[in-house]
Amino acid sequence: MTVTSVDKDVDHLTLTLTADFTAPVERVWRLWADPRLLERWWGPPGYPATFEEHDLTPGGEVRYFMTGPEGEKYGGWWRITSVTPPASLEFTDGFSDQDGKPNPEMPTTAVRMTLTERGGGTRMELRSVFDSREQMDRLAEMGMVEGLREAVGQMDGVLAG
């Protein structure tokens, strides 16, 4: 198991996740620092991400979009708050509107990622905090809707077959 621990704190709207990789710190860091590598793991299967901007410096911006199976696009952005290669990265993670601009109506999370050497491999600790309960509720609501939508899509496939 790569993920070794997960803690969900509903009161503090926080997810903390620890993962252990056998690869050295430098290689794990590259998965974040090289946009071409980042593209290969950020989006879920069937929704590949394309990073158009990737400036890992304090105050720097990252912009990307994911392309769905029917060509639909979902944009997102990061704003980098702190970066110490290859040990840590902190950023705000949010959604974009159709024009690629940050969408203020959508939830954001504050992400802190740290990498430490551990037994020749790498421990990645990730902490993700929703910026408000209201926004967290909102994301869950969307998840529910999208999940149901997927179910509907699958039913359509079955019915058409």
Binding site: T2, V3, V6, K8, V10, L13, L15, L17, A19, F21, T22, A23, R27, V28, R30, L31, D34, L37, R40, W41, W42, G43, P44, P45, G46, Y47, P48, M66, Y74, G76, D93, G94, F95, P107, T109, M124, L126, S128, F130, R133, E134, M136, D137, R138, L139, A140, E141, M142, G143, M144, V145, E146, G147, L148, R149, E150, V152, M155
Partner: protein
């Protein structure tokens, strides 16, 4: 599907309600429950009556409720905040677990990480995660 008539009908209504992009968008906008039907109607290039009809479909499917607030009726997507907060964390967790799996897959490819693309690697796909979607998700 062998279900009793009532349930079958409820599922039909739910799926019918969700099978429309405008109605899904209304669900997203009404999470906070502070929009009236007329405020909602202003957001779409369609008539007030058409938006009202969409809201009625959602209401019949149990996806929104309408609450009287002065002279207005405010539309609210189904409440239960604690449950949703937990759900949001669950979704964030599954999104990150899936990402970590993909990172692991890339790291085990070779020194350059230039192996097969997403979904074609030796590992089984964990399946689409909910957050993108979002971010999606979230990815969102």
């Amino acid at each position: 599907m062998v279900v009793d008539g009532v349930t079958d009908e409820a599922v039909d209504r739910l799926f019918h309600a969700l099978a429309d992009a405008t109605r899904r968008d209304i669900l997203r906008r009404c999470v906070r429950g502070e929009l009236s039907v007329s405020r909602l109607a202003a957001a779409y290039p369609m008539s007030f009556a058409a938006v009202q009809k969409h809201v009625t479909v959602l209401e019949r499917a149990g996806l929104v409720t309408k609450q009287r607030h002065g002279r207005e009726q405010l539309v609210r997507t189904d409440p239960d905040a604690v449950g949703r907060a937990r759900q949001a964390l669950d979704e964030l967790e599954s999104a990150w677990r899936a990402r970590v799996d993909r990172m692991s897959g890339l790291l085990s490819d070779d020194g350059t990480g230039a192996g097969p693309g997403p979904g074609t690697g030796p590992r089984a796909d964990p399946g689409p995660d909910a957050t993108t979607n979002t971010k999606k998700g979230q990815d969102g």
